[in-house]
């Protein structure tokens, strides 16, 4: 690790100011992703701005038609939340599948969404539920937020404060774990709303994406059989030492069917 300055502001505007005034400075939330990159000397920020003292970034609130989860809420809290379990059980299940207990206790939803790892779980839930990303300056729709490999719509100095999830009629998440890392080799989030179904896939490609043919078929008939024959194109999917693109494409269909099953059960 290289030396860096450490700031722990207690107001969001102060944090934003530090970020814009110190070039290449970085926010740190749970540190589960950031700290390893520092230890491996892959990143060299001159300053870290710690979000842990900012008020109101932790916790889950019930707004009726939506649930709002503060950016600094750890995965373990979401997984164990009675509210989330009751209203969006698929999202609680997703949080419970992230990493291991230590990672779930430290890692945060804001950090995960901001990082937009192509194999992370939360992006599938956020896009699949059509959530809104609430930041220090605005609200961004999930469909406009994830821009591909580790890329998001966040601007320099912009801080995620919460994620607001619409409560679906049903939702389910299924994850085929990458053998070694246990990130998603392919993860599929399926959500049924009164006005249609959304299907979001993580792990399979360079970024989370939706599958319109599956959404159309499931809107007609919310049953695994409706999508059993829908194959997604291998083009643009990831190939690596764990799985080639055609296997990932195959798994998207299998995991989507199982996610529908999970949503129905």
């Amino acid at each position: 690790m290289k030396p860096f300055a450490y700031h722990q502001p207690d107001q969001i505007p102060d944090a934003a100011k530090l970020l814009t005034s110190i070039e290449d400075s970085k926010l740190v939330a749970g540190g589960m992703t950031l700290i390893p990159t520092l230890k491996q000397r892959l990143a060299n920020p001159p300053a870290l701005v710690d979000l842990s003292r900012l008020g109101n970034l932790k916790g889950i609130t019930d707004d009726g038609a939506t649930i709002t989860i503060g950016a600094m809420t750890p995965h373990a809290v979401v997984a164990a939340s009675k509210l989330v379990q009751a209203k969006i059980p698929g999202l609680a299940a997703l949080a419970s599948m992230i990493g291991d207990p230590a990672v779930r206790s430290r890692g945060t939803i804001g950090g995960s969404v901001a990082n937009n790892d192509p194999a992370a779980d939360y992006p599938a839930g956020v896009l699949g539920l059509g959530a809104a990303i609430v930041t220090s300056t605005r609200e961004i729709a999930a469909d406009k937020f994830f821009l591909g490999l580790f890329e998001t719509a966040l601007e320099t100095g912009e801080i995620i404060t919460a994620i607001r999830f619409p409560v679906p009629l049903r939702a389910g998440y299924t994850k085929f774990k990458a053998p070694a890392s246990r990130y998603a080799l392919v993860g599929v989030f399926v959500a049924k709303f009164a006005d249609g179904v959304r299907v979001a896939v993580t792990g399979a490609g360079p970024g989370v994406f939706r599958v319109p043919p599956m959404e159309a078929a499931l809107s007609e008939n919310f049953d695994p059989s409706a999508i059993a024959a829908i194959k997604i194109d291998n083009d643009g999917l990831t190939s690596d030492i764990h799985a080639e693109a055609d296997y990932r494409a195959h798994l998207v269909t299998v995991m989507a069917k199982r996610a529908v099953d999970a949503a129905l059960s």
């Binding site: 053998p179 070694a180 890392s181 030492i241 799985a243």
Partner: protein, 795 residues
């Protein structure tokens, strides 16, 4: 008489008190006054000419004390890392043995090859300076696979090693095998890959070196399984340090699995550097550094053929293997795929003729050496797989074909056609026991239940034998060993009757402090708590070869047993004097010396006291003190074996293999501590399952980059991969070790890969699948099913 906890008891492990309470003392826990930090700068290229290293910026960087490179080594005329085994080809031509400099000279030959050593006040400063080195590489194409390496036109690692072949080794009677194949009713053929593995002990490697000018002595603390061997190899052959001026300490070591049983360049460089900078230096590898510098294991490509008569009797076995050595010869490197592989190809069968050819090949990869099992899992895998192939091709039940060829219990000692002679065993007994324990009878019911869920269920057998207890020195010498392979133990009885044992093996997780204490407690009748086992320090322990190859109990335990016998013999002499009886009339039983047929008795404690306070003592004929030493050179290998049965379920939709049940019935000879044996079996089985289903070291051909270079990409087996294992022993006693022990450290790893893969193939056999390479990952299984273009269950 105290609290004797002897052979066959299962006390909790003594060492766990300190491990479980965070009181262990590992190399990285040690701090020396004035200690500096060292980091190794490693090649990012698989193969390159090393044109030069510009140190100037690094030397000017804050806190930097020194930067050393291969040129500095060359100037001092220091040796390269020695190989402990020199094998030869069929004509007696010795293997090619290119120099293995401790810091690269002229060329780098794998990603991770050491180019420079940077020493600074702190690790951060050393790391920062390391990034400032300008290293001029002329990158060459790499070759990483054995098939590619021996092809004409392949990149050549060494100018004087044509086709990268280190040695073209063979064993067995080629002519007899050919004759048998001509008479065969059936020939089964199998091509397979034995996947490359990375050991991943929990504790990464580390070292601290210190030089004391006042005494001209060096001390090296290192994560080693064999400190005396490091002292010998490094002192005598690399750095020219006299043995009495070099102390090597291997304190608590967090797992080895073979990875720490080699003399590494890091040890030599840091020791040499400590004298140059006149301060202690510490180096601790990161996990990622371990991936590209810890010696790897396995990595074979094999073609095998088994000749059978019309009844399924094995007539002959022929095996051709290409074995990867990596970029240089490591300490045991060339011995593993040859001497520890070919002689095991007889298995538990009566195959009369066997021929094995192994081409030992250099590639641009980390040097390959012993990893738990070392050669024997590879041999077992080839044999146990081809037996299944033959059974299925000939329509003979897999258990039945094994029975028809098994060495019956009465036929021991059994001379195989490949050098080794098994002293004892009962493979049929292990098989019968395992069939019952695994409830094979009701497998059909379980298979039908799986089928009703759309899953394929399979059962796999592995009836295997291994050779451990390395090794009779004379025999090993004939095979190319450049050292002896005995073990030594000193039993020091204190004046108050407690015992300290100094032993040359090394405990790094095996429970020696418990097992060896049980042996002493049993033999001397002293309390289990009154015995301490000292190991891992060349200044405290007389000598030793260390721990590997399941040798600690078999060879070290034998030395310990002999040394305790000497203590008893001397005690009898002292007792005879004190009890005024003839020595032949003295009995030793349950911690008491007595005159046979009388009630005249002296306790062990009284005898110890008399030995150190020799007022009434036969000083004219007997020395005071009660301390005895024994060296033991084994007369043969020991041959543990057994039967493993794996049961798997395959999800054809995703290709996922789930291990649903695992049964092992093993013959490990006398069991000293059943709990520790069970633990060794559990761990060994999990490592074998790791090889079968998860682990794979993957290199990129051409660039030589290690693609599976972290725990994110190299899949270790985890607790949730495993079912509860059913483990039992069915022991016959070894006829030539003092206590009848055979060893149990590696059996789990040796028997299991074949059992698991045989189960996977069985699960898929109805689809025409005849072989699955390891690891049987979901991706691989799914692809196999796709390529067979078979109907995959739809929901």
């Amino acid at each position: 008489m105290g609290n004797v906890i002897g052979i066959g008891a299962a006390p909790k492990r003594k060492e766990d008190q300190r491990f479980l309470t965070g009181r262990g003392n590992y190399v990285s826990d040690i701090k020396r006054p004035g200690m500096t930090a060292g980091v190794f700068v490693r090649s990012p290229h698989g193969h390159a000419v090393l044109r030069g290293v510009d140190k100037s910026a690094a030397l000017a960087s804050a806190g930097v004390i020194a930067v050393l490179t291969g040129d500095d080594v060359k100037v001092e005329g220091l040796g390269g890392l020695p190989c402990g085994w020199g094998i030869s080809d069929a004509k007696g031509v010795p293997m090619k043995e290119p120099p293995f400099p401790m810091l690269a000279q002229g060329k780098v030959r794998y990603v991770g090859d050491m180019v420079a050593f940077v020493i600074a006040e702190t690790p951060e400063q050393a790391n920062a300076a390391a990034e400032l080195l300008t290293i001029d590489y002329e990158v060459l194409p790499s070759v990483v696979g054995v098939l590619e390496a021996v092809r004409p036109g392949a990149p050549q690692l060494f100018d004087d090693v044509p086709n990268n072949i280190c040695c073209d080794w063979e064993l067995g009677d080629k002519g007899a095998v050919e004759t048998a194949f001509r008479k065969a009713a059936h020939v089964a053929k199998l091509s397979l890959v034995n996947n490359r593995l990375i050991g991943n002990p929990m504790e990464p490697r580390a070292a601290i070196a210190e030089y004391e000018p006042g005494t001209d002595r060096f001390t090296l603390w290192t994560t080693s399984q064999f400190p005396h061997v490091v002292r010998f190899l490094m002192g005598a052959l690399v750095l020219n340090i006299p043995q009495h001026k070099l102390r090597v300490v291997a304190p608590d070591v967090g797992g080895g699995f073979g990875v720490k049983q080699f003399h590494y360049g890091e040890e030599a460089v840091i020791t040499w550097a400590a004298k140059r900078v006149k301060r202690p230096i510490k180096w601790v590898a990161s996990r990622s550094e371990g991936y590209v510098s810890d010696r790897h294991g396995r990595d074979h490509v094999t073609e095998a053929e088994l000749a059978l008569d019309e009844h399924g009797k094995f007539l002959a076995f022929r095996v051709n293997t290409l074995a990867n050595m990596g970029g240089y010869l490591s300490t045991f490197g060339p011995n593993i795929p040859t001497n520890l592989y070919g002689p095991l190809l007889g298995g538990v069968y009566t195959t009369p003729a066997i021929y094995c050819n192994v081409k030992v090949v250099f590639t641009n990869t980390v040097p390959v050496d012993a990893y738990r099992g070392a050669g024997r899992p590879e041999a077992t895998f080839v044999l146990e797989r081809i037996v299944d192939v033959a059974a299925s091709e000939m329509g003979i039940d897999r258990v039945e074909i094994r029975r028809r060829n098994m060495i019956p219990k009465e036929a021991y000692p059994y001379q195989t056609p490949v050098l080794v002679q098994y002293d004892s065993g009962d493979p049929m007994g292990c098989l019968d026991g395992a069939l019952v324990a695994a409830d094979v009878k009701n497998f059909g019911v379980r298979k039908a239940a799986s089928a009703s869920k759309g899953k394929f269920r399979g059962l796999g057998y592995s009836t295997y034998v291994e050779a451990c207890g390395l090794a009779p020195s004379r025999f090993a010498g004939r095979l190319g060993a450049r050292g002896g392979l005995y073990e030594s133990a000193t039993v020091r009885v204190h004046p108050t009757g407690q015992v300290t044992v100094m032993i040359g093996t090394h405990n790094h997780g095996q429970g020696h402090e418990t097992t060896f204490a049980q042996i002493v407690s049993e033999k001397l009748g002293v309390s289990f708590e009154d015995v301490d086992i000292v190991f891992g320090d060349t200044d405290r322990v007389q000598f030793g070869m260390g721990t590997y190859g399941s040798r600690s109990l078999v060879v070290g335990g034998a030395a310990l047993s002999k040394a305790t016998d000497k203590v008893i013999a001397k005690g009898k002499k002292i007792a005879a004097h004190l009890l005024e009886a003839a020595e032949v009339d003295i009995q030793f039983e349950a911690g008491n010396f007595s005159v046979a047929g009388t009630d005249r008795i002296k306790s062990f404690e009284e005898i110890a006291g008399a030995a150190y306070v020799p007022h009434n003592y036969p000083l004219e004929v007997l020395e005071p003190g009660l301390e005895e030493q024994a060296y033991y050179d084994p007369v043969n290998f020991t041959y543990p074996g057994g039967c493993h049965i794996a049961e798997v379920e395959v999800d054809p939709e995703t290709g996922t293999v789930t291990l649903v049940s695992y049964t092992a019935v093993d013959d490990v000879g006398t069991v000293i501590n059943p709990m520790i044996v069970e633990g060794q079996l559990h761990g060994g089985i999990v490592q074998g399952v790791g090889q079968a289903l998860f682990e794979n070291a993957v290199y990129d051909e051409g660039s030589g980059q290690l693609l599976s270079g972290s725990l994110m990409d190299y899949c270790m087996p985890r607790a949730d991969h495993m079912p509860m294992m059913k483990v039992a022993t069915h022991s016959t006693l070894c006829t030539h070790t003092p206590m009848g022990v055979k060893g149990c450290g590696e059996v789990g790893t040796i028997g299991s890969p074949a059992a698991v893969i045989n189960a996977v193939v069985d699960a898929l056999s109805h689809l025409g699948v005849t072989h699955v390479d390891m690891p049987a990952t979901p991706n691989r299984i799914w692809r196999l099913l796709q390529n067979a273009s078979l109907p995959v269950a739809a929901e």
